[in-house]
């Protein structure tokens, strides 16, 4: 690949927005061309400046309430169901409480794919209800025994901070009727929930990725456990994370 063409495509290279073949040829030119390399470094410095130093603006807590109360509301549901139905307003008003009730309703209405719906709901709730972790620590040697002691299972728990997936902590959760370990990671600003629970099926199964409601879900079985990773990071990043866990 020649110099002018490479130079023009440097932003796409830095942003990882080219296909693998083009990436290979661009990389080969850059390695040999001091001018392209210098420019690539400037772009990367720029990117990391924004990613690490730009002030973060989080939504004020009152905004969620304000929106929830402005939404049009439908007729109330039949009395028999309503004690199980808590939505966002409930979560906002009752703080961390209301979200917990949500699963109870979800667990029963269950087509085969309910597990995926369930983990997505768990993932969302873990962030909404401000209850991401029961044990907030990046120390894998604390999280793992803490979970093992409470669940009689020993999932992979490892801090992948060097690879860009720092461990945030652990939590007890329920997935599809199973008591599950939820191991929480971050990728930049995004949360990754990794659920692990005892499989009915003891055979290993390779990771399978799917999307649901804007979230990516990857599930696989290993060592008698079912693992499910959920996040709104791009599928490729979630799969890279899954590979780390698999080799962990």
């Amino acid at each position: 690949m020649n110099h002018d063409r490479t130079k023009r495509l440097l932003p796409a290279y830095a942003d990882r927005q080219t296909g693998p073949v083009r990436r290979f040829f661009l990389g080969r030119h850059i390695a040999r061309c001091p001018s392209c390399l210098a420019e690539l470094e400037v772009i990367q410095a720029m990117r990391s400046a924004l990613r690490t130093n730009l002030p973060v603006h989080r939504a004020p807590p009152a905004l969620a309430m304000r929106i929830a109360s402005a939404l049009p509301r439908e007729a109330p549901p039949p009395a028999s169901r309503r004690s199980f139905r808590f939505g966002f307003t409930g979560a906002a008003m009752a703080g961390s409480l209301a979200g917990v009730a949500l699963t109870l309703a979800v667990t029963r209405a269950t087509p085969p794919d309910a597990m995926v719906a369930d983990v997505v709901a768990d993932h969302v709730r873990s962030m909404m209800a401000d209850h991401l972790t029961d044990i907030p620590t990046s120390d894998q040697h604390t999280v793992k025994p803490w979970l093992s002691a409470r669940l009689d299972l020993s999932p992979v728990v490892k801090d992948f901070v060097a690879e860009g997936y720092p461990l945030v902590g652990g939590r007890l959760d329920y997935v599809d009727g199973h008591r599950a370990a939820a191991i929480v990671y971050r990728r930049d600003k995004h949360v990754i929930n990794l659920f692990a629970f005892l499989s009915g099926d003891a055979t290993d199964a390779a990771p399978r990725q799917e999307s649901r409601d804007g979230f990516n879900v990857v599930r696989w079985r290993a060592g008698g456990l079912t693992y499910v990773a959920v996040s709104d990071v791009e599928a490729s990043q979630l799969l890279a994370f899954v590979r780390l866990v698999e080799n962990g």
Binding site: L50, H57, L63, A64, F88, M93, V100, R150, L151
Partner: protein, 202 residues
């Protein structure tokens, strides 16, 4: 303690949730399946929506108005969401709400001036000072960003903070996919020049 901890917590929280809601009255709760679907889809992206609106409007109060408007629209058009990335869809709506807000406010109109077209975006000379950019402090960076044209601010936020692909950036901003890279380059260069000028000042 031990293996029952989770169950105990759940039971306790569940029963106290029941008490709390009773005292607040049922009509306050989202009970409709459509409302609940919306909450599950949209509320996790509130920080993303607010962050974009905040960078575009430049202040919290206007950003809140823009986000509320966007969420109400998203709720109204929820059934038209067909994609698999709700965040991209929602950010598109936030941007549209912002543009409408601009039209409605005189103070807003000066915010979205088109960026100068003559800016040379090929790299002038990778100077050592530019390499120090990643040491710029957060406050300075925020001020420099705020001074950029809005179309530069938005593309930088979408790329670096929201981590959107070029394709998704094209969807949110409505610019052709082929021009995302060049606009992003211009935005980066504009920010870099602003930073270098800022450094030169006594």
């Amino acid at each position: 303690m031990g293996t029952c901890a989770g169950v105990t917590n759940l039971t306790k929280e569940f029963s106290s949730a029941g008490t709390t809601t009773a005292s607040h009255g049922m009509q306050q709760l989202a009970t409709d399946p459509r409302n609940r679907r919306f909450e599950l889809l949209a509320m996790p992206h509130l920080d993303a929506a607010f962050g974009l609106a905040r960078w575009l409007t430049g202040n919290t109060a206007d950003a809140e108005d823009v986000v509320q408007d966007a969420y109400l629209r998203a709720f109204r058009y929820l059934d038209t969401f067909r994609g698999d990335n709700f965040r991209v869809w929602l950010l598109t709506i936030v941007r549209n709400s912002f543009l409408d807000w601009l039209k409605d406010t005189r103070s807003g109109q000066r915010l979205f001036q088109p960026a100068p077209a003559d800016l040379d975006w090929t790299d002038p000379n990778p100077s050592p000072e530019a390499m120090l950019l990643d040491r710029v402090d957060s406050e300075t960076l925020g001020i420099l960003m705020a001074q950029l044209p809005a179309e530069y601010r938005e593309i930088l936020i979408l790329r670096e903070i929201e981590d959107l692909s070029y394709k998704d950036i094209a969807t949110v901003t409505g610019i052709p996919a082929g021009t995302v890279m060049s606009r992003l380059s211009r935005a980066r260069l504009a920010l870099r020049k602003a930073w270098i000028n800022n450094e030169k000042r006594p």
